[in-house]
Amino acid sequence: MTIELALFAKFSARHPVPGAGRSARPYSVPECTTVGQLIGDLGLADELRITFVNGRHADDELVLAQGDRVAVFPPVAGG
């Protein structure tokens, strides 16, 4: 199945789609992939991070569905 994947700040260089930068790009993952499995595949398992699926915070156990938008951020704050 295909999801939309966006990686921000220092993670943007890890986007598996060449030239994606911080843009969301379609990305193929196996059916029933969890957030945690995706993060592991991206090589981010050991990184502190904040993960959103469709604009909501997502745990690693969440099973992704076709068309989901996944966005991953390193720890950020400001304001």
Partner: protein, 589 residues
């Protein structure tokens, strides 16, 4: 020993007196709010002689405490009609502390003309006529001031531009950064108008040749500062995210969460967020040869400040903060950082709060006077602020003034002050802070974005009403304490996650003052600050009915999550339950 300096603008007399015993534990916001509560009649006209304007460095002012150089400026606000503490970086707090000043209280109002308060490193103080500076904006004024100072001087200033002189409710007070550039602003609440109403154009303070302040236990203080600095450097936000991208790092994540107010709070995501983002701003700034990392005051170890430069690499304005890029950008439908930089520069020069101005401009755009996204129209309107035109005066008096004048129903304010860069519908914790803080809709008063969005200090579902009041209450108390200490509130990101950071604050306060400060003592200090503020507002006529968001935020669903604000009123009304007991302990009512 620190003194209170009283500057009577009516008689032009200056007096120094020892800090009264009852205020000896108070710095920064604790001192400004105590003085506002004790000395300003709650029914005072904010722009009349009965109001007072107080400058107070925090407890750590003049020390090497990491990020300990914030300045609190207090008064009754012409924007909110309630108590105000407007917090600003820059060098002035450290300078005042090195001069032995715990607080300056400006009283009365000049009968005619403009004045500057000039404080010399030898301890002398005088009011000088500044009529020749009438109408000057902050950048030109900074050059004029510099020309009056001896070569090699080390000085800091506070000043107002044409918006302040025009007594507009969004007028800011500009403070110079470590390079002497007047680009740090006490923006919120119109305190620039209070300053100008007294006939005060500038404060000029030199600490040339002066060392740091005296500590009760210097060695212990140095140990504690190292512990605190290490904690700040080790935390991923204060040690990496903020130094790398500045506050602008928030743009993409708040947009992702659907809480990035767009086109006057009509949507929670902006299609050009990436163009405005901190990542993009960093890349553009580096490409143009600009600075992307420095502190707004000496002793800052977080270093989230930067300078924004134009396409030729020339300084334009300070690196725009997240709140400014949002307000002048997405909230106005503008998606270009150079356009935002022009607007930010103009706001800084004429001296207005970028948040209030961006919110006001967006309401103006919604009225149809100009289109969303019309940068040229926005610049043309903004240039009129402080010049006396109808549009300029209305914009300069803030978002609510614009909405009332031009017939716009959606006005994103609480207690007459505009909200910041987080829509309270999908981020309900910040909605609680907007609604309840005595300051008007001020995100910094209880920055619930931490647990709601950023996973700092725990997690609280931003879309649910559950747990938001407790979160906001704890943050409001802690923030009031940090503001009293003179610490940058960004240290909270580390303090919330690392116990040793909070311990270090206790240890620094104890070693510096000689009085034992426990964690409970610090939290009680925060409660005392809020108690002064809550009681003052009560005397000024505020009730629980003022602790509410605008009505449309309870009924109009915000895309993309299509949610409204759902924290019950009755729960909001419990946030200040501690005030009665705290007030009794303080012997005030």
């Amino acid at each position: 020993m620190s003194d209170i300096m009283r500057v009577d603008m009516s008689t032009l007399e200056i007096k120094r007196e020892p800090l009264p015993e009852r205020w000896v534990d108070f710095g920064g916001r604790a001192l400004t709010s105590a003085i506002v509560f004790e000395e300003i009649p709650a029914d005072a006209d904010p722009l009349g002689p009965a109001n007072k304007l107080i400058f107070a460095p925090g407890t750590f002012g003049g020390t090497t405490a990491p990020n300990g150089g914030r300045l609190s400026i207090g008064a009754k606000s012409p924007l909110t009609g309630g108590i105000k503490e407007s917090n600003v970086g820059g060098q002035l707090a450290h300078t005042l502390s090195r001069l032995g000043i715990a607080g300056i209280i400006f009283e009365g109002a000049a009968n005619d003309g403009l004045y500057s308060l000039v404080l010399e490193a030898d301890g002398s103080a005088k009011l000088e006529r500044s009529d020749a500076w009438k109408g000057l904006n902050n950048y030109d004024l900074a050059e004029k001031i510099k020309a009056t100072r001896p070569d090699g001087d080390r000085f800091a200033t506070a000043s107002v531009g044409q918006a302040g002189e025009a007594l507009l409710s969004s007028a800011s007070i500009a403070v110079t950064d470590p390079k002497g550039i007047p680009n740090r602003h006490a923006g919120r609440g119109g305190l620039g108008a209070v300053m100008a109403s007294k006939g005060l154009k500038a404060v000029i303070a030199s600490d040339k040749g002066l060392g740091g302040v005296v500590h009760a236990d210097k060695d212990a203080f140095n140990v504690a500062t190292r512990k605190f600095a290490t904690a700040l450097r080790e935390h991923p936000v204060t040690g990496e995210g903020l130094p790398t991208y500045g506050t602008q790092v928030l743009t993409n994540i708040i947009n992702e969460a659907g809480g990035y107010p767009t086109r006057n709070f009509q949507a929670g995501q902006f299609e050009f967020a990436e163009a405005l983002s901190g990542e993009n701003m960093r890349e553009m700034t580096i490409e143009r040869g600009g600075n992307v990392k420095h502190g707004c005051h000496t002793g800052c170890v977080i270093q989230c400040s930067r300078y924004w430069v134009d396409k030729d690499g020339d300084y334009k304005t300070k690196g725009m903060e997240y709140e400014s890029v949002w307000s002048l950008g997405a909230n106005c439908g503008i998606g270009d950082l150079d356009d935002v930089g022009e607007l930010d520069r103009m706001c800084g020069d004429i001296g207005v709060d970028t948040m209030e101005m961006g919110a006001a401009m967006a309401v103006y755009m919604e009225s149809g006077a100009i289109e969303f996204g019309d940068t040229k129209g926005a610049l043309k309107a903004l240039a009129q602020v402080g010049t006396g035109t109808e549009v300029g005066t209305t914009l300069g008096n803030g978002a609510e003034a614009v909405g009332l004048k031009y017939g716009v129903a959606r006005i994103p304010v609480v207690k007459h002050q505009a909200m910041a860069a987080y829509d309270p519908r999908p981020i309900q914790g910040i909605g609680v802070t907007y609604a309840t803080t005595p300051q008007g809709a001020d995100h910094t008063a209880g920055y619930a974005i931490t647990a709601n969005i950023l996973g700092v200090g725990g997690t609280v579902d931003p879309l649910s009403p559950v747990g938001q009041v407790g979160l906001s209450q704890a943050l409001q108390i802690a923030t009031a304490m940090l503001d009293a200490m003179g610490l940058c509130i960004f240290v909270a990101f580390a303090v919330l996650d690392k116990p040793e950071a909070f311990e270090a604050i206790c240890e620094m306060a104890t070693a510096h003052t000689g009085k034992n400060w426990s964690a409970d003592d610090l939290m009680l200090l925060g409660k005392k600050v809020l108690t002064y503020e809550r009681l003052f507002n009560g005397k000024a006529g505020f009730t629980n009915a003022d602790d509410r968001l605008p009505g449309y935020m309870y009924t109009e669903k915000l895309p993309p999550h299509n949610v409204v604000f759902t924290v019950p009123d009755a729960e909001l009304d419990t946030l200040f339950d501690f005030v009665a007991e705290t007030a009794a302990g303080m012997g005030i009512a």
